[in-house]
């Protein structure tokens, strides 16, 4: 039985904090175990360059997963994160390469495009009452096509915008601490995670995120404009996807318009492994981050061990099922 009491904020906060503590420890422990096991299995695994490769591989998927977490907590789902990311990258390409405008405008274009697409998805879900699965599925296909249309099905290179690739590939940390060349893309991932986590736990928007996921009807009956909050959450999620678009465009120094389809499933997998429930009402950003890291560590570790590629996705799929099952068991016991 899940009810939301909007006039007893202290209990909600302490409940959320308790859940945070619990989920964080579980997922984190698994991550540590994996790292230890792979380090023993291969002497090449635990090197600085490989750890950085893992973080770099996590950055885009992690940002998409964070965006998806926000929507999933409200009880919805966002299948469009993959192609939306590509669309934002293409829009950055149009602004920077085709129109020749300065870099800050390109960054704003990418994030703004994401926010706008999220706004549209949110409107379909909230105002038109289209189920999130369908609304975002439609959005995914629309954006997939638009990416190809606007880019002329060719990749848009950012060679004319010097420094653009430094957004993801450069290393501000490395400039200060030469022994720690962590790419900016990873730094951005952690900043996004921190901000999203703050929003979820300390702001009204975050509170309504959980509330909408637990019991939307109760929130609506309390006199809250659920439509407005839902749209705001989808728009925020879209803006974060826009940052993901910037990251991948910067990483490849190009906007690849055919890319993106399939990335949404990896993002959702990271969210689920991290302990967020697909039925909404519960979830943490740190859990998602750890879920994304677990997937990246698994994939990289298996590759470094030269395990056949076909087995890598078999393992990931098995982990997802185990993660959700373990989570269900834990909640059944706690109830």
């Amino acid at each position: 039985m899940t009810t939301v009491t909007t006039n007893a904020p202290a209990s909600i906060v302490s409940k959320i904090l308790a859940a945070l503590m619990h989920q964080r420890l579980l997922a984190f422990a698994s991550l540590i175990v994996l790292l230890i096991v792979f380090s023993f299995a291969s002497p090449n695994f635990m090197q600085m360059s490989n750890m950085i490769a893992i973080l770099q591989a996590t950055s885009v998927n992690g940002v998409l997963a964070i965006a998806a977490t926000l929507v999933i907590i409200t009880g919805g789902i966002d299948l469009s994160v993959g192609t939306m990311m590509t669309f934002c990258a293409v829009m950055a390409g149009v602004v920077l390469t085709k129109a020749g405008l300065p870099m800050p405008l390109g960054i704003i274009a990418a994030i703004g495009t994401g926010a706008f697409c999220g706004f549209c998805s949110g409107t379909f879900v909230a105002k038109l009452k289209i189920p999130p699965f369908i609304a975002t599925l439609g959005m995914m296909l629309i954006l997939k096509g638009l990416s190809l249309v606007i880019s002329g099905t060719r990749p848009i290179y950012f060679n004319d915008t010097p420094g653009f690739d430094q957004i993801s590939r450069g290393s501000l940390i490395g400039d200060v601490l030469p022994f720690l060349p962590i790419p900016n893309g990873v730094l951005i991932l952690f900043i996004v995670a921190g901000v999203a986590s703050y929003i979820l736990s300390r702001t009204v928007l975050g509170r309504y995120c959980f509330a909408l996921g637990s019991n939307e009807e109760a929130v609506r009956l309390s006199g809250v404009n659920t439509d407005r909050w839902k749209i705001a959450i989808y728009a925020l999620s879209g803006a974060i996807v826009g940052i993901g678009g910037l990251l991948i465009a910067s990483r490849l120094n190009s906007a690849q318009p055919a890319l993106g389809l399939g990335y949404e499933l990896e993002a959702i997998a990271a969210v689920v492994i991290g302990g967020t429930s697909l039925s909404g009402g519960r979830g943490t950003i740190i859990g998602t981050l750890i879920g994304a890291l677990i997937m990246a560590v698994l994939t990289n570790g298996l590759r470094v061990l030269s395990v056949a590629q076909e087995w890598q996705t078999v393992v990931t799929g098995a982990i997802i099922i185990l993660a959700v099952y373990a989570d269900m068991m834990r909640r059944r016991k706690a109830a």
Binding site: A41, L259, W311
Partner: protein
């Protein structure tokens, strides 16, 4: 609760390790990162690579992303391959520019890169083992012109615009038509991403829009099979189809007479030469800039010749 999740992590990890091959420290290790597993073409390349690896006594791995749009996944694979401090690396770039920073890193670490199939826009690779795709596509254009009588309309179903092979095959065909056959008009070039289903739909749309079309050229296995499927499903008559690579669907179509002919590369040769070149590079030998692995045109008349059969795959 702590123990359950931890246990799960430990079990999965332990299961993985049991499947790990023993790492021989004295063998040279050469990972090959290809464009994917999408086509049987890559299986043939792998077969050639493994043949050379067995001859040279080196250990190779062969991997590629799930589909040929996943440019960033391929870079992640390259990064993981570098972690094992390989003796050399083979790389078939999905995008001719995206991997250059990582390749530069590898080169700085003293790891020679052998590019295969699709080269990169840089002089970092010590050599590129590839088909001269421009020349091969030009040959396809010549054959097409010959078969449709020197004049008419043709269309191209290509695979992509980011890789060297995609660009070279499309341009090789188009440039040759423009240069030598002014009476042949190319009505459209469409892209099917090398995916058979997508290419089928693309080819169908072209055929419906151009009912009097004389010829179609598919620039890789998936594209060509898409064209064949489209003609079969629509029942169109009188379209001359020229394909690329082989695979059972294409060879069957040629034997049936549905496809006029196709260009075949030498995928086994590409894999073989890549590994051979990589080993030579580790010994510090000089290598030519391009290793031309060759191409042939085959049709009903010569498909069963020994020399053609050697380079075809199922």
């Amino acid at each position: 609760m702590l123990s359950r999740r931890t246990l799960m992590g430990a079990i999965s990890a332990a299961a993985l390790i049991m499947g790990t091959p023993a790492m021989a420290q004295d063998e040279l290790f050469i990972p090959l990162v290809s464009k994917g597993f999408q086509h049987q073409f890559w299986q043939a390349v792998q077969a050639g690579a493994e043949q050379a690896a067995a001859e040279e006594g080196v250990r190779i791995t062969f991997e590629g992303p799930d589909n040929e749009t996943m440019v960033d996944r391929q870079i992640d694979m390259l990064a993981a391959a570098l972690a094992n401090n390989p003796a050399a690396i083979g790389f078939a770039a999905l995008d001719s520019q995206a991997a250059i920073p990582l390749l530069r890193q590898a080169a700085d670490a003293g790891i020679p890169i052998v590019a295969f199939d699709s080269g990169v826009d840089s002089d970092i690779p010590v050599t590129t083992a590839t088909t001269d795709n421009r020349a091969a596509a030009s040959l396809a254009a010549d054959k097409m012109a010959e078969l449709i009588g020197g004049s008419g309309t043709v269309a191209v179903v290509a695979h992509d615009q980011t890789s060297r092979t995609g660009i070279d095959r499309r341009d090789g065909f188009l440039d040759q038509i423009e240069a030598k056959y002014p009476d042949i008009q190319v009505v459209t070039v469409q892209y099917g991403q090398g995916d058979q289903l997508q290419s089928t739909e693309v080819a169908k749309a072209i055929l419906v829009a151009n009912p009097e079309l004389d010829g179609m050229f598919g620039t890789n296995e998936g594209s060509a099979i898409g064209v064949v499927n489209a003609v079969r499903e629509l029942g169109t008559q009188g379209v001359t189809i020229i394909g690329y690579d082989s695979g059972k669907a294409q060879t069957d179509a040629i034997r049936e007479g549905l496809m006029a002919g196709a260009i075949t590369q030498n995928p086994v040769g590409i894999g073989y030469e890549t590994v051979k070149a990589a080993v030579a590079a580790t010994k510090g030998e000089d290598l030519p800039k391009i290793i031309d692995t060759g191409f042939y045109y085959y049709d009903q008349s010569n498909i069963d010749n020994a020399e053609i059969q050697a380079v075809l795959y199922d």
